[in-house]
């Protein structure tokens, strides 16, 4: 297997250095009430959603000499998990550099820098440190690596099942990129055997995640007030300030709709979103131009369908945008989707693919429009880290200034 070139090693080294600096700069050293709650949900009272991680954690608590149901134990666990997540990010970057055709390397490196700028700060903030999304992203990256290497791709199905057991939101936030890539491979395959393989993989993955989602959202039973009170007490035990995560426990244990409870967050979202759109406008415009021209380059029905799927794959986030409040997470999911999928496609297309060509053209377009093209890669740093309900601290600060009040 080929090693990384000298230039690739330098880029990889810089990304590792950036990762370390992010750890010092952005880590807020708090495991929030909300995220601490996610490790106490389990299957003890029934097959509930988001119960897998908590079930394993509580099992370890019962079967090891350590008292794990404390804030400090969960905090240490989350530090370890964040470290492992960073290893996964680095693995994705490493594999991308290794498998990337030489002609595409230069532009791929810029995309990987952008990927790093978005990803490393995200899970260090109070809102996202220890969040269950960590597992979903690790699983997604594992699936992407399998797809890029084209080895043991059957593992995608059990990995997706695992992800659904961890958080049913996987169906909206992360599975899209896996499904789109499998669909792409299926539709673009020349050999019938390969085509059938990928259609089966695509179909089984889609059906599996859908079944689990429907079960957890529609068919699961509520667990009653006794279980609710028990978990409230447990959450208070592991939280940093003795509080508990009311919205999650009400939704997961009592089956209550929390839309109205989250009204103030919806209002915050509506206030912040226009500012965030303005702030991210350069990327929105460049993204639209890139995708539009990519679709135009597609020749024949197969290619058009494949790239249409690439363009609209992110639409699985629409229900989240409309019904939920974690806009910061969804912005990250969108950025992750588009950056990762372009990188994966550049690898899958091998040489002279249309994605690589379009990326080069987009780069030339950007360079023709500004003498500071590097600003497009520096600029996201001004909007980082992305939060959860709040999209970015920068836009929140603008909002605060606009709403100066007693």
């Amino acid at each position: 297997m080929k090693k990384l070139s000298v230039d690739d090693r330098k880029v990889f080294g810089l990304i590792i250095a950036y990762m370390i600096v992010c750890g010092i700069r952005y880590f807020e050293h708090i495991l929030s009430v909300a995220n601490s709650c996610l490790y106490i949900l389990s299957y003890r009272h029934g097959f509930t959603s988001r119960g897998l991680v908590g079930h394993i954690w509580l099992w370890l608590n019962d079967h090891t000499p350590f008292n794990l149901v404390t804030y400090s134990s969960e905090y240490i666990l989350c530090q370890l998990l964040t470290g492992i997540l960073f290893v996964f990010f680095l693995a994705f970057i490493y594999v991308s550099l290794r498998l990337m055709p030489e002609d595409n390397k230069r532009n791929a490196r810029y995309l990987l820098v952008l990927f790093s700028i978005f990803s490393f700060p995200m899970f260090l903030t109070m809102e996202n440190f220890g969040r269950i999304d960590i597992f979903l992203i690790m699983i997604t990256i594992a699936c992407l690596i399998l797809i890029m290497y084209e080895k043991a791709e059957w593992l995608i199905i059990p990995l997706c099942i695992l992800a659904m057991l961890i958080h049913q939101g996987f169906v909206f936030t992360n599975v899209n990129i896996i499904l789109v890539l499998l669909f792409y491979k299926a539709i673009m395959a020349d050999e019938k055997k390969r085509k059938v393989k990928y259609y089966i993989l695509f179909g089984l993955t889609l059906v599996t995640v859908s079944v689990f989602f429907l079960y957890f959202e529609i068919f699961k039973t509520t667990l009653g007030m006794d279980v609710y009170n028990e978990l409230v007490a447990l959450n208070k035990q592991v939280s940093p300030d003795g509080n508990y995560y009311k919205e999650l426990l009400q939704h997961e244990i009592l089956g209550n709709d929390v839309y109205e409870m989250e009204t103030k967050y919806h209002i915050e979202n509506i206030e912040e979103l226009p500012l965030a759109i303005v702030a991210f406008m350069p990327y929105i415009l460049i993204g639209i131009s890139f995708l539009k021209n990519l679709f135009k380059k597609a020749v024949g029905i197969k290619e058009k369908l494949a790239y249409l799927a690439v363009i609209v794959g992110v639409a699985t986030l629409i229900p989240e945008w409309l019904l939920k409040v974690d806009f910061g997470r969804y912005v990250y999911s969108m950025a992750f989707y588009y950056i990762a999928i372009v990188i994966c496609l550049m690898i899958l297309e091998k040489t002279d693919g249309i994605v690589a060509r379009q990326l080069q053209e987009t780069k030339e377009m950007i360079k023709s429009k500004t003498i500071m093209p590097y600003l497009l890669l520096v600029y996201p740093a001004v909007l980082m880290p992305l939060r959860d309900i709040a999209i970015s601290q920068t836009t929140i600060n603008i909002l605060r200034m606009l709403r100066l009040q007693e």
Partner: protein, 411 residues
């Protein structure tokens, strides 16, 4: 002089980037420490550091606003931050207009770096409301007058005003102004020699007079009355803050606000500053190396006269440094040094300093070669800045606390 269409387009991008940079740090919160200066006034006698408080209280009273309102203070500071921002953008605009011989790529790279260094400092809650904002504003106004060579006599009263604002002005932002006057005097064949001498004498005399008057105030009960009234106002403002938990704990009016430099202060603070300086040397190492290469490259291109001025500027920078170890705050002085370096650099660019132009073009070519390294350096700069008031920044403060917890146990 107007910007060309291309320059306007590029300049708008720079301004948009700068606005977001400002809001990266600015959450509009005022720290208790920075509120104190607004509670001082001349009601109990003419004394140091009371001009801003007097001005604020007069303005607020004239406008019929609530003097003890936290929000009023926030808005007052936001207005002056906007003024600072506009003056900076104006300085950048002067560079774009006047550094015509320098290629655009290099020009805007320098402006992007200057923007990262200068724009966000006074938005950070540790510096929001800091008296240094007004000193920086006055300095930028003076620079504008000197660069345009119009109404330069205004530099004198403005410098005196700044000395009234803060007693430390003479060894802080006045030195920036002084270095600029020396440089521009050299460029314009000795035009500002008299202005330099008179302003030095006037500012120095103002410092002495105010110090004596404050000392006379100290000898009576007027200082105690002033401090008591100030503390009462401070407490009222703190109580009115909507989210008091964000404020920096109970605030008191520090002795050095009343003039006089507090040497050492609490010794553990000085020790912490020294440790942070060493940490900062490591964290800022890539930029220190870059700066050293830049200076070496620049010196190789300078003639004898330019080299002599370079030595003068270096001496001025060294004069600013010791204050970094005092109670006043290391981060504050590091920003001052960065402000000084940026301002001198930008003015030299605007004046068409050939040796500087050539050096910057070479540095731009160096980064064009190492694109990703350059991008990460700029991102890293955004993460390191702005500096804080007392601690250098979040990273040095945090690492210093970690070292102290694990090994030193000093604080």
């Amino acid at each position: 002089m107007k910007l060309s269409k291309t320059d306007r387009y590029n300049f708008i991008q720079l301004v948009a980037f700068s606005i977001l940079l400002f809001f990266l740090s600015c959450n509009s919160y005022l720290d208790g420490e920075n509120i104190a200066i607004y509670t001082l006034n001349y009601n109990h006698g003419l004394m140091e550091n009371a001009l801003i408080g007097t001005f604020y209280q007069c303005m607020v009273s004239l406008l019929g606003l609530d003097l003890k309102s936290y929000v009023t203070l926030q808005i007052f500071n936001m207005v002056f931050n906007v003024i600072y921002f506009l003056l900076l953008m104006n300085l950048f605009r002067q560079v774009v207009l006047r550094a015509g011989d320098l290629e655009d790529k290099s020009k805007y790279l320098v402006l992007v770096i200057a923007s990262i260094v200068l724009v966000s400092n006074f938005g950070l809650h540790k510096n929001f409301g800091s008296v240094d904002l007004y000193l920086a504003i006055i300095t930028l106004i003076c620079l504008e007058l000197l660069m345009k060579d119009k109404m330069t006599w205004l530099v004198l009263p403005l410098a005196v005003l700044a000395q009234f604002i803060y007693s430390g002005y003479i060894i802080m932002y006045f030195l920036v102004l002084l270095a600029t006057m020396i440089y521009l005097s050299y460029k314009r064949h000795g035009k500002y020699k008299n202005l330099i001498l008179i302003s030095c004498a006037t500012v120095f005399s103002t410092m002495i007079v105010l110090h004596i008057l404050t000392g006379m105030t100290e000898s009576g009960s007027m200082l105690l009355d002033s401090a008591t009234a100030g503390q009462a106002m401070l407490d009222a403002i703190m109580n009115s803050a909507q989210d008091a938990s964000r404020l920096n704990g109970p605030a008191e009016i520090r002795p050095d606000i009343y003039g006089g430099i507090v040497w050492g202060g609490d010794l553990w603070i000085t020790k912490k500053h020294i440790i942070e300086v060493f940490i900062a040397l490591v964290l800022f190492a890539p930029f220190i190396k870059l700066a050293m290469d830049f200076i070496k490259n620049l010196k190789s291109k300078m003639d004898k006269e330019e080299a002599r001025f370079f030595r003068v500027f270096s001496v001025i920078a060294i004069i600013m440094m010791p204050r970094a170890l005092l109670h006043s705050g290391t981060g504050r002085i590091i920003f001052l040094l960065l402000f000084y370096a940026c301002v001198i650099l930008l003015i030299a660019l605007a004046e068409g300093q050939q040796s500087l132009d050539r050096t910057i073009v070479e540095m731009t070519a160096y980064f064009a070669d190492k694109k990703i390294y350059g991008i990460f350096l700029l991102v890293y700069m955004i993460m390191l800045l702005p500096t804080w008031g007392t601690s250098i920044n979040w990273m040095t403060g945090h690492i210093a606390n970690l070292i102290n917890t694990l090994f030193l146990h000093i604080w």
